[in-house]
């Protein structure tokens, strides 16, 4: 199970990195080709599609490996126990938010499959899906973090 999850993380990170590199390359090439009078009109749409995936899968990567920015001045004054309870409450709220995004995100993507990336001729739902799927992965990350927090003394 642990091993499977590690493989999954690796895959996710590879995908994010591929998207970031592809976006840079696409934007660069589209400018170069336009200069030489052969504009690639689908480059913008494709780079935005890849960007969406880089953002929401990348957010999971950041959530798993780093501490997100927060204000801890007031929290640091609290006794350790209170701090832990507060953090558990926040984690639950965040999980509720992510679960909501997964639920409504899937619905939104399925409701409006006819919306197109005009120059690509493919459905915009491919971008919309990045939100619920990225959020589902973040939900998993938050569950694991919360369990770890719960067990910590």
């Amino acid at each position: 199970m642990k091993k499977m999850y590690a493989i999954f993380c690796k895959l996710e990170e590879t995908l994010v990195k591929a998207c970031v590199c592809a976006v840079a390359l696409l934007v660069f090439l589209s400018a170069v080709f336009r200069t030489f009078k052969h504009p690639i009109n689908w480059a913008v749409d494709l780079s935005l599609l890849l960007f969406a995936w880089a953002v929401f899968l990348g957010a999971d990567m950041a959530l798993r490996n780093t501490d997100l920015v927060k204000v801890d001045m007031i929290v640091n004054w609290m006794p350790a126990k209170a701090r832990k309870i507060l953090q558990l409450v926040w984690n639950l709220l965040i999980m509720a938010f992510l679960a909501m995004v997964v639920w409504y995100g899937v619905h939104l993507a399925l409701d409006n499959t006819k919306r197109l990336f005009q120059t690509l001729g493919i459905s915009y739902s491919w971008a919309t899906f990045s939100v619920p799927i990225g959020s589902a992965f973040m939900l998993v990350t938050m569950i694991l973090k919360t369990v770890a927090l719960w067990k910590r003394e």
Partner: protein, 427 residues
Amino acid sequence: MLLSLVIFLALLFLGMPVAFAIALAGVAYFLNTPDLPMSITVQRFLVPSQSFTLLAIPLFIFAGNLMNETGITKRLIRLSDTLTGHMYGNLAQVSVVLSTMMGGVSGSAVADAAMQARILGPEMMKKGYARGFGAAVNGWTGLVVATIPPSMGLIIYGSVGEVSIGRLFAGGIVPGVLMMVAFMIAVSYVSRKRQYMPVRDRYPTFREVLVAFRDGIWALIFPVILIVGIRYGLFTPSESGAFAVVYAIFVGAVIYRELTWKKFMETVHKSAMDIGAIMLIISASGIFGYGIVYDRVPQNLSAFITELTMHPYFLLLIIIISLIIAGMFVETTVVALLLTPIFVPVITNAGIDPVHFGLIMMTVTTMGVMTPPLGVSLYTVSSIMGCSPQETVKESLPFFIAVLAVVAVMVFFPDVVLFLPNKIFGA
């Protein structure tokens, strides 16, 4: 919308990560507005990542990280060191000058402050600089990075306010250099008082300077390439980030030959995480921002301010004070995203040039990265330097004054900002 704001501040101060505090406050608005189906929160969450202009942000983050692995940073440190070795507090002066030079390739105040605290911090502590002072210097000089083009803040301002990013970039050069001078004066003042002695008792020789310059030239000319490239239509400002990436790879792999495949992959990894963390905040503000628009807050606030005063100086004073306060409590990019549409129509009505205002606004807003209670740089540099944020705040006063002085110059002498853009892009 007021309820959402209260929820946001409560969550923020009780330690919820900024991105989720914004998102949940936004969701609260949707829950409180029966006309709005929850599915739209998902659309608004996605939308910031579907802007071609904002695409420049991840690309500049990527480019900035690449610079550090290509040997560009190393050479710039050597150059700064050569130039400032004879000055009091020269390590702190290196931080100022380095930020000015790095400013030409990097667009993020926070990323650069962290990088320099890591590289220059240990040496500063060894030389007996107060930790808080070291943290303050590395943190505040990040503002220069954000002012000299390219600049993440200016990209956001330009894209949200529909102001030419090429002009904004050109407008940032002079204020950036002014800020460098102001910071150098501040550092010099503190360092003399505390006797942070110079490492060299003589000025650098012309030869030393020349050699160091030749080494760093590839980084130093990049902002020029950037503006020339935009000016002659090789790329649009939205595309300039991609050129920064390609340029960094080219310099690192071909000219300095320091960028290996392994280093490249590590940089991509780090960049991917940086992008995820920053874009999560920006995306979340998409949810929050919808409520603001739906409730017509920008129009109402604009009308309110307009009624208060239309005198340009008073107007700017009010706006600057609001921005300082907003910057204290809200993340910089979010301030730019949410307040630009409110202020741009107001100042345009009052006859203030939006490029001029953009530089003022983004300088003041970016200060927020170093002001408590929510200052991303403040926390980062303090933790790297191993001091409490309070110590850093105490040491921040001279730098705060330096920035305000530069802002005052920009307010009273618009040409400081507008001369270059008018020269390059036509009046």
